[in-house]
Assembly symmetry: C2
């Protein structure tokens, strides 16, 4: 069975939505995803907010509260009939996220075994046929095919197969012959 | 740079020593590694001890207290000059171990970046040239070369390149031409 590796934040979990909500509540601000085309949150906020804004994702409960990206559950469940699905998340950047990420995945993606979760840093250690990710840096040394999941910060990046949402992922894989 | 993936328990961390110490203290027993040739601890203890013995590794502090396997630090530090080293541990079997494992690695292997830690379940997701592991099940679908690290439970397993300790790992890699 071919393997699809799937990133977590901005691909199956809407971490940006939660980050914006918490930032806006903290500073009584009104930053939306539309303000972030080609940029990260840290690029559009006052310099003096940076440290505290970075700390938001390091709080114990941040990853427990994330919304599921629309369509991720249905499409991954369907794809898991034909492919082996792994969740590959750069969790080492936020070590406090381990337990919350593990529990969140079990709650929202019960059809994926915890034996198929990978908490890593550099993703060139991942052996998969496809990697669906919002960060192109993970595609550089990856030996399979990188599929760029659309996010505000990567919208101006070119040169990769881009999917704009999970329906687009379903269409893409429907067009690929399955190797058995 | 070629990649060496290195398992954690029984390869760089002496989890069995700690498990035996705690089991023997709990039941006033005297099980040693010599009793475990070809067997796991669960195979040699009274049936009624099994559940509590299994729980020992699920306690929060278990992985914080492990001794480093003799020679692991020196040999991995030397190999890290010629190879990229990743620590690949089946942490998903014991989710409570995440933080203790992360901190233990940082303390004892400060020359390995946390970006090169991989907490996983199934290891056929690992893209590496070599995998040093005490469990041959991880070699089945692994596309690189599996190197079996000697442990009491695997002593009767044949058909793999076996290393008996870290000095043996150093000798093995000294005999392999380095690809740059």
């Amino acid at each position: 069975m071919a393997i699809i590796a799937v990133d977590m934040d901005e691909v199956v979990a809407d971490a940006l939505d939660e980050h914006l909500s918490r930032y806006n509540a903290l500073y009584n601000a009104g930053v939306t995803k539309d303000h972030l085309t080609g940029r990260h949150l840290r690029d559009v906020i006052p310099y003096e907010h940076r440290q505290e804004t970075e700390q938001i994702v390091h709080s114990e409960d941040f990853f427990a509260d994330l919304k599921v990206m629309s369509g991720a559950q249905e499409v991954l469940k369907a794809l898991s009939q034909e492919y082996e699905i792994f969740i590959t998340t750069a969790a080492m950047e936020v070590p406090k996220s381990f337990t919350a990420k593990y529990e969140w995945l079990g709650k929202h993606f019960p059809f994926i075994s915890p034996m198929n979760y990978v908490f890593c840093g550099s993703k060139h250690i991942i052996a998969a046929d496809y990697l669906i990710d919002d960060n192109v840096r993970h595609f550089k040394l990856f030996k399979g095919k990188g599929i760029l999941f659309d996010a505000p910060h990567n919208r101006q990046v070119t040169g990769y197969t881009r999917v704009k949402d999970w329906q687009d992922v379903a269409r893409l894989f429907a067009s690929i012959p399955v190797c058995r």
